[in-house]
């Protein structure tokens, strides 16, 4: 099978695109409900899949990434996974802990984008469409199954038509917050670059605004310039999709890795915690300590102490005190005295 493809990348892309086609075939009732006005998105999606696999596989090939991916995937079905995933991927608890501003910005941006995708792509692939059998009622069809009947002028229907408008406002709000932070925050100003930090924000802003203009034209201007705006909007989405795996927005599809990392740390720490070679404190898992040693070896980094331990086997305070001993000859790491506070906040 593997020899049938030029590379693993080609294989993965081929299989994914085929899978997608099958899904479209089924979802759209054998291609009967494809909205051909949206074909551009389909092309964009295929290109995105190619780019995504290219980037993800290059990334996953790095030794430290491979370890966490492999071991994390094996542990995917831990009991704590749903909670970890909800914390990290749904409510962004860790970002909340970094401050309410960034949390709100991420909720707006993140969920604005995700909800938009949940509305747009089922429509594009014909997985979801609306039919009107009775007057005044729409039937929402998902994967060929009638899901729900909604009153055409009801609240639910209103939300369905305007979903993308609402998410557009969310994204615009989030982008504005992000831009404001990038202008004010000194560290952000120091590290940011246009291509990496600003471009994706402008792209999202462009998509949202052109989308809203589309709605505006339809409602207030009787569809004035609709085809042109529609093309501009469609192209802005396609360009963003193509760009997505290669810029800052890549952290969206890669974020689930943090769930894997958490599982990896929790599982192995329960199984076999690593005791510091000097003071005996548990500070990590045996597995991770060894994995890091192995990973570093592949980068030709090997830190061995006088006693023959690898430095990754020492807890952090002992490792720092061991450095004192290297600087002075005094065995600081062997002196059993509580270290002075090193983490006082300003």
């Amino acid at each position: 099978m593997n020899r049938a493809f030029a590379s693993r990348w080609a294989r993965n892309v081929f299989l994914t695109v085929c899978g997608l086609l099958v899904m479209i075939y089924i979802g759209s009732r054998f291609f009967t409900h494809i909205d051909l006005a949206l074909y551009g998105y389909m092309v964009g999606t295929v290109v995105f899949i190619g780019g995504f696999f290219y980037r993800f596989m290059a990334w996953g090939d790095r030794p430290p990434t491979r370890i966490i991916l492999k071991k994390g995937m094996r542990l995917l079905f831990r009991r704590s996974t749903p909670k970890t995933a909800a914390d990290q991927l749904v409510v962004y608890r860790f970002i909340w802990n970094r401050g309410w501003y960034r949390w709100l910005q991420h909720i707006l941006l993140g969920w604005g984008c995700i909800l938009s995708a949940f509305v747009t792509f089922p429509l594009v692939f014909g997985w979801m469409y609306f039919t009107m059998s009775d007057n005044g009622y729409y039937t929402v069809v998902g994967f060929g199954i009638d899901l729900v009947r909604v009153k055409a002028d009801g609240i639910l229907a209103f939300l369905f038509y305007n979903a993308l408008n609402i998410t557009a406002f969310m994204v615009i709000g989030g982008v504005c917050m992000a831009l404001y932070r990038r202008v004010r925050n000194m560290q952000a100003r120091a590290e940011q670059s246009f291509a990496y930090d600003f471009l994706p924000l402008y792209l999202l802003l462009f998509i949202s605004i052109t989308g809203l203009i589309l709605t505006f034209n339809n409602i207030f201007l009787d569809g004035f310039a609709h085809p042109v705006m529609s093309m501009i909007h469609q192209w802005s989405v396609i360009i963003t999709l193509i760009y997505l795996p290669f810029g800052k927005l890549a952290h969206i599809p890669f974020r689930p890795m943090s769930v894997l990392a958490r599982n990896y740390r929790e599982h192995y720490a329960e199984k076999a915690p690593k005791a510091c070679r000097v003071c005996g404190t548990h500070f990590v898992s045996e597995e991770q300590s060894q994995d890091v040693v192995d990973v570093l070896k592949q980068s030709s980094l090997e830190f061995v102490t006088e006693e023959g331990y690898h430095l990754a086997e020492l807890c952090l305070p002992c490792r720092r005190k061991y450095r004192m001993s290297r600087f002075t000859g005094v065995p600081t790491h062997q002196i059993r005295v509580k270290e002075s506070n090193q983490n006082a906040k300003g």
């Binding site: 202008v183 004010r184 000194m186 005295v337 509580k338 002075s340 506070n341 006082a344 906040k345 300003g346």
Partner: protein
């Protein structure tokens, strides 16, 4: 001023929406330059940025300085006047209610008037401090004498700089803490530093001090503890606490014996050599070693180095000054400069490390019981006349000299003093023999305290007035070099807080003394009057205008008029300030500490500071970073002593003297003499080491002997571990 070798041209980091206000630190006498970062829209101090172009410290700051800005908008700041109606709650934080300024002023004025009409003008007292600007220090002296018309005013410099002042006055006839600017220090060839834990108390001097060694010069440190500066010293004279006078006499003995004296200089510019030479004869290294416990060879080596050095600076601090012979120690160490002629020229001289921010300026302008602005004396009718003229009172109206800080507490207990106006000080932590002091505060009929936080001393007050931090007002301060510098205002006062000078002007108005204070409507106006009041005095500030301070990056006093650029180096003309123009060599017989170890109290207790806290800790203990770094006091014990008592690192023990006791956590270290224990004094309530210290006063300076008393360690009884004081 020429830039020294450490100076580097650096642009400051500027953040959008912020401005930088150049000023100085709120804490010690180094008065390190700093820029406060102020949010322009909110007009609020939000951070600090180094002031790279300040010539003394070049942007350097200790951890206190870095975090000093956090005082201004601290949650604990007093926002409104507080009144306590229930007097039985004094000595606690309880029972205060917020009041308006009018109500607080009315109460203060009513009670002051009642006390003065029943018990006389002198029944009121003012206890002040020198962590505030010259303008405030000056006005406080005037307020006591003109506003309250009491003789009883003194200040916390009695626990700080008074010995240095008295010693220098006796030797030179003038008291400027340093005879040379700090920018000379790194160019000298030998530093002889006695009783100064410089690395912890004046850290931003350290880069200059290390540079002396890097250049091949010598560092001699006299200290019972191996402090971070003593660790790297070429010679560390680890003497017993309280024996400095013997060591200083021995140094002079060895300098004479080694032929290091400058006979021409002694002849022309000093008096008293014969008596001195006679007295120090007895202080051979061997005899001195018996008293001080220092190896005779180390004494010889130290004297040789100092004697041979082409240029040398003798420096000292509270270690030698906070003794009941503190002023003698100052004069005795200064003798070293005089017999060798290493004074009155650049890169040589003598300096004391001023403790408080304005310890120098604050003692010159009339907050002392016996002094008037410009270092004038109340005992001198001509001086009184000069000041009375500026103040617009008749000379007869000038109150008589009062008593020193610690003695005021005695008068409170005797009911001679019945009312107290306390500002800018926290004697319930910083005074010696605290059980007595706290009882004295309890015995007051009325006490008003002005502070930025509710200090331990404010707990004894009936009325607490919210004062401003240094960053909410402007004015001048005189740093440890004698350089007058400018503090700038960075934000408006928080809440309803007011600067102390404004409170005094407003109180004076209500006391019916407004005519003497009404014109003082700003710090600048006070500065104008105060420069005039100092004109012609020893400490002449007349020419030190705010404009000149900005232009010259500080002005060294004396600065007599507009043309005078000031006096960075003292005595360049070899003229001293005694009537004969000569410096006095003082022959000072050795006296042991007031309380020597005995069978019941076999160890010596000495006190001092840690780098994270300032004085009573009222400010620094509230700063999260500083508190996290040093949350509680400890007692340093030598491992040999610990073995003898069977105590271990981190164990809690009880320290006991004839005056009091307190529990402390043990810190074992070989960096202290086995016969001595050390406790830092920054902590309040039952964590105060000053519950144990002795109030033996220096006869000249009235400085208590914080640095040496006899103590015993009690280990916890079996099975009943002691609780750390809280």
């Amino acid at each position: 001023m020429p830039k020294d070798k450490f100076f580097k041209e650096v642009e400051n980091k500027r953040h959008p929406g912020e401005r930088l206000v150049p000023t100085h630190c709120s804490y010690c006498g180094m008065q390190c330059g700093m820029n406060l970062r102020v949010d322009t829209a909110a007009n609020r101090i939000i951070g600090v940025e180094p002031r790279y172009d300040w010539p003394v410290t070049l942007g350097k700051m200790c951890p206190k300085g870095v975090t000093a800005y956090q005082q201004t908008n601290h949650d604990d700041r007093l926002m409104k006047p507080l009144i306590r109606d229930d007097r039985s709650l004094r000595g606690t934080k309880k029972g205060f209610r917020e009041a308006t300024w009018e109500e607080a002023y009315d109460l203060v004025v009513r009670r002051f008037r009642e006390l003065q009409s029943s018990y006389g003008a002198d029944s009121l007292s003012v206890f002040s401090g020198v962590s505030m600007t010259n303008e405030k220090c000056y006005l406080t002296g005037k307020f006591a004498r003109v506003g309250l018309r009491t003789r009883y005013i003194d200040y916390n410099g009695r626990f700080c700089m008074s010995s240095a002042a008295a010693g220098f006055m006796r030797t030179f006839g003038i008291d400027r803490g340093s005879t040379l600017p700090w920018t000379d220090l790194h160019e000298t060839d030998c530093l002889f530093i006695a009783g100064s834990n410089t690395a912890e108390c004046h850290p931003t001097s350290m880069f200059r001090i290390w540079e002396v060694q890097n250049r091949g010069g010598y560092l001699i440190v006299v200290d019972p503890r191996e402090t971070p500066i003593a660790r790297r010293a070429d010679v560390h004279l680890d003497l017993r606490p309280g024996t400095d006078l013997a060591l200083a006499n021995c140094m002079v003995h060895l300098l004479i014996e080694g032929g290091y004296t400058d006979k021409a200089f002694i002849e022309a510019h000093t008096s008293g050599i014969a008596e001195l030479a006679e007295l120090v004869k007895a202080f051979t290294p061997e005899y001195t070693s018996e008293i001080t416990g220092v190896d005779p060879d180390k004494l010889r080596r130290a004297a040789d180095i100092y004697g041979k050095a082409p240029n040398a600076v003798v420096m000292f601090a509270r270690g030698i000054e906070q003794q009941h012979k503190g002023s003698d120690n100052v004069s005795a160490y200064t003798n070293m400069c005089l017999v060798t002629g290493k004074i009155g020229r650049p890169k040589s001289g003598v300096a004391t490390f001023t403790g408080q921010g304005n310890g120098q300026g604050g003692r010159e302008h009339g907050q002392k019981a016996d002094a008037l602005p410009g270092y004038r004396k109340i005992a001198n009718p001509k001086h009184v006349e000069e000041v009375a003229k500026v103040w617009g009172i008749r000379p007869e109206e000038m109150p008589q000299p009062g008593v020193s800080a610690y003695e005021m507490f005695g008068l409170m207990k005797e009911k001679t003093i019945r009312g107290l106006y306390l500002l800018c000080s926290n004697p319930a932590v910083s005074a010696p023999n605290l059980n007595e002091v706290r009882a004295a505060l309890m015995s007051l009929d009325f006490m008003v305290c002005s502070d930025i936080f509710l200090s331990e001393s404010a707990e004894y007050a009936d009325v607490v007035l919210p004062s401003t931090t240094w960053s909410e007002d402007e004015g001048t301060v005189t740093n440890l070099e004698g350089r007058i510098i400018k503090i700038n205002k960075a934000q408006e006062p928080v809440g309803e807080s007011k600067p102390d000078w404004l409170m005094q002007v407003e109180l004076a108005e209500r006391l019916g003394r407004g005519e003497y204070f009404r014109h003082l409507t700003s710090a600048q106006a006070i500065n104008d009057e105060f420069r005039l009041a100092s004109k012609g005095g020893y400490a002449d500030y007349y020419g030190a205008t705010w404009e000149k301070i900005d232009r010259q990056q500080g002005v060294f006093w004396p600065c007599k008029d507009e043309q005078d650029p000031g006096t960075p180096h003292m005595f360049l003309d070899k003229k001293f300030y005694h009537p004969d123009g000569k410096a006095k060599l003082c022959a000072l017989p050795y006296r042991p500490p007031a309380e020597e170890p005995c069978e019941s109290y076999p160890l010596r207790l000495t006190t001092g500071r840690v780098v994270y806290h300032y004085l009573s800790g009222n400010q620094t203990r509230r700063i999260p970073f500083l508190h996290a770094m040093c949350p509680e006091p400890f007692v340093e014990v030598h491992p040999e002593t610990a073995r003898l008592y069977g105590i271990e690192h981190e164990e809690i023990v009880k320290l006991r003297t004839r005056r009091g006791q307190a529990n402390f956590k043990v810190k074992i270290t070989e960096a202290i003499r086995p016969d001595t224990v050390f406790v830092p004094y920054h902590f309040g309530h039952d964590e105060s080491v000053n519950l144990l210290t002795i109030a033996a006063l220096d006869p000249m300076s009235r400085m208590p002997e914080f640095k040496a008393c006899a103590v015993q360690i009690d280990k916890a009884p079996q099975g009943q571990p002691l609780q750390a004081a809280k």
